[in-house]
Symmetry: C2
Subunit: 211 residues, 2 copies
DNA sequence: CCTACCGATCGGTAGG
DNA sequence: CCTACCGATCGGTAGG
């Protein structure tokens, strides 16, 4: 509908992600959108309303993408790798999503929990059920703490994407041929896989051999 | 030496960790320390100087603790678990350390990298060398990307401690007998171990059996 | 009457 | 360490 509204949301996500909510002024958002401060207030009555709209847009997008990811990987080979790869892809396509969410986790955990519990919990439950079934069949380590495992994987996804600029500086490059984000994603998936499944899958090696 | 100086640093770490640097005003720090705004400027000429002093104190403390951790676990059983456990303990003892560092990673990666590269890199190199040697002996998966692995484990430690309030709300309690922080720490160590060593160590199970 | 803004300014607070 | 302030900028609102 409103062109300005969307521009405000896009610019605000970027600024909130990079500088944080408190360090972002309405005039900065105005400068990034070619609007004046007063115009922002016309669209969103308060600064906090902008933050909530950005968060809603992000969670709604994720809510739409997540089922598609799980369905697309419902069958076939390398289900686990594909699901994690798609989840990583969602944030890597726009790292500000990860940065903003990580900041919200730090700044307003209660606010995030309200929205999360309603919208995303059912899908986490699906993943948790799949893991618990794998435990029963013996495919997955019985020692896995399902909810804690999911949370740690989510944290790795969010933080490794959000802090990729720092990784570039600190981790250095083992293999200069591929970029750091790619290396971190591959290692994350390898760690998540290796620490979940009893029988070491050869899928990662197969990919290499086939290539 | 200066009693007020220390009070300012302790109160500032707490406020920076919880609210962020930009959202923390000098009068807030003054209120927490019983000082007035002008008095803070007497001890630290600028607000940024307080931040740097807090960061220095934190990194120096860690620089002192890290060698002790590595030495103490130089021999004996469950070296890996003990090293990770001690590292987790350092942040769990004062979660604001993890929150503050995570915020600095987001807000000022360049500034953090300057201090990190000089002080902590050599110790990361020690861990990296140990992992690379384990690869040669076949004890550790050859597919491990050493630097990426270390970085992902560091991220899990920092973020799981920093965001523990959110974990309490979102993860729920599989086992109400032990608290969430304990569950997350155990699962983190299990994941890190399982995804590194080829031969599944029975150390974690042994601990249980012996208890 | 509506939308999408503007220039100017409100009362308070920021770091110094 | 406090009082007394500064230039500027904060989020938000006024009438047009």
């Amino acid at each position: 509908m409103s062109e300005s509204r969307d521009k405000i949301l896009v610019a605000s996500l970027h600024l909130f992600a990079r500088r944080g909510y408190d360090a972002t002024s309405l005039s900065m958002i105005g400068e990034a959108t070619g609007l004046l401060k007063g115009s922002l207030v016309y669209h969103f009555s308060t600064k906090d309303a902008i933050r909530k709209a950005v968060l809603d847009g992000l969670l709604n997008r994720w809510k739409d993408v997540l089922p598609a990811i799980l369905m697309a990987a419902a069958s076939g080979e390398n289900r686990f790798e594909r699901i994690l790869g798609e989840a990583l892809g969602f944030f890597l396509a726009e790292p500000d999503r990860a940065r903003f969410l990580l900041r919200e986790c730090l700044d307003r955990p209660d606010d995030l929990q309200e929205r999360y519990a309603k919208q995303l919990e059912p899908w986490i439950a699906v993943v948790a059920d799949a893991i618990d079934k794998g435990k029963e069949t013996g495919e997955i380590y019985a020692t896995v703490n399902t909810r804690a495992y999911i949370w740690q994987v989510v944290l790795m996804i969010l933080s490794s994407v959000a802090l990729s600029p720092l990784a570039d500086l600190m981790v250095g490059e083992d293999d200069p041929r591929q970029d750091m984000a790619e290396q971190l994603s591959r290692e994350l998936i390898r760690m998540a896989h290796q620490s979940l499944f009893c029988t070491p899958k050869t899928s990662l090696k197969e990919e290499k051999d086939h290539g």
